[in-house]
């Protein structure tokens, strides 16, 4: 009986949560959903990370003029600041490269050019990720000649 079926599936459910949709199948949404969600979450996270970074490196105390090898060494003695900088690096790269992917999707019509640009951006991002990650995790001030 359709009436019973309907009564059983449409109780008072708050609007906008998608619960009106029947739940028997696999939920909708794949890569594009997660990409979209990631851009929003990482955007909020980057706001804090990047503003904090700019304040520390360029504004507080005497700003950028006090930043030298000693400064970085002192800051990176704390795992907190290493994590901060690594999170900033990873999120900025993923956010930026994904943003480029979306821009390419919107503006580049020829499939070959789309593919080539996406590969170029992904490779560049991966190289920067490897380079930054190696530095963040292996930085040892004693392995470097003193500059001052």
């Amino acid at each position: 009986m359709s009436v019973e079926t309907r009564a059983g599936r449409s109780p008072a459910i708050p609007p906008g949560r998608g619960a009106e949709v029947r739940r028997r199948d696999r939920p909708a949404g794949g890569f594009e959903l997660w990409s979209w969600l990631f851009m929003r979450v990482s955007g909020v996270a980057l706001l804090g990370l990047a503003v904090g970074h700019v304040l520390i490196m360029h504004v507080l105390d005497e700003g950028v003029s006090r930043v030298n090898f000693e400064f970085v060494q002192l800051r990176w003695e704390s795992p907190f600041w290493r994590t901060w900088d690594w999170a900033l690096l990873v999120l900025a790269l993923l956010h930026g490269i994904n943003g480029l992917r979306v821009t390419v999707q919107d503006y580049v019509r020829w499939p070959g050019a789309r593919f080539a640009l996406n590969v170029l951006f992904a490779l560049t991002g991966f190289l920067l990720f490897v380079l930054g990650t190696v530095i963040v995790f292996t930085f040892d001030p004693n392995a470097w000649p003193r500059t001052s």
Partner: protein, 257 residues
């Protein structure tokens, strides 16, 4: 637009009587023309200056041009009262229905172009097929496999209200052809298709919501929307198009919780 010669229609005559004998205004129409059969692939601009009642619609002015000045001007219109959705065009840079724009609001000069992002066939007429392909792809019809009800399928006012806004769509394409993402890539289903999916996804009598959400979660679905709000501005029916799109995004996201 003198009806004495029998060329005008009855509705137009009654409209003019209701408008009274106010002063006439001079209106210059700058119209983007295109005719691959006689003028090749280049579009061009034509200007027509007419005398018009200030309370006439822009569609009346276009009729005047077509009926008395240049019969080769091609445009679509059917009901001329904002319901059929045939006469969407870009008027002064914004998509609107020519039958819902009043001459007084655009005089003394108005620019009229075909809606963007669809292949132009002639003058103001575009090929609507890519638009309807997006529309068809979201299964815009009732899906209910629970069998025929004995009487009508009942629905509470609250359940009806949930999708009320999106029932107003007349498929004029003003929203989809104002969308910069659709301009760049007509593979994107576009705002109108999402509005019409919304109309059934949130209908308590319908059981195809999950299938539509799966379609809209794909590469060319709702996540290509950049929330520029052009669609909401363009809709001649006042549908909150961007809100409907965000509803669908939210449903896809929270569907799993």
């Amino acid at each position: 637009m003198d009806d004495g010669n029998g060329l005008g229609d009855v509705l137009e005559a009654s409209d003019r009587r209701a408008a009274g004998a106010g002063g006439r205004v001079t209106l210059t129409l700058r119209i983007r023309r295109y005719n691959p059969e006689t003028r090749g692939q280049e579009s061009w601009w034509d200007e027509f200056t007419i005398e018009s009642e200030p309370d006439d619609r822009l569609l009346d002015a276009l009729h005047h041009v077509k009926w008395y000045l240049d019969g080769t001007l091609a445009l679509r219109r059917s009901c001329a009262h904002g319901i059929c959705g045939s006469d969407a065009m870009m008027i002064n840079g914004r998509n609107a229905l020519a039958c819902k724009v009043i001459v007084r609001d655009v005089a003394p000069r108005v620019t009229v172009e075909p809606i963007r992002g669809l292949p132009v066939l002639k003058d103001l007429i575009v090929d609507m097929e890519p638009f309807f392909a997006g529309y068809r792809s979201v299964l815009p019809y009732l899906i209910n496999d629970s069998g025929e009800p004995e009487k009508e399928r009942l629905q509470s006012p609250e359940e009806r209200h949930r999708y009320d806004d999106t029932t107003k769509c007349i498929l004029c394409a003003a929203c989809t052809t104002s969308c910069p993402i659709f301009w760049g890539d007509e593979e994107y289903v576009g705002p109108a298709a999402i509005v019409n999916a919304h109309r059934f996804v949130y209908d308590s009598r319908d059981e195809g919501g999950r299938r539509r959400l799966e379609i809209l979660a794909e590469k060319n679905g709702v996540f290509r929307c950049r929330t520029t709000f052009n669609c909401t501005d363009a809709c001649p029916r006042g549908i909150e198009v961007t809100k409907a799109i965000q509803d669908v995004k939210r449903s896809i996201l929270f569907d799993r919780f």
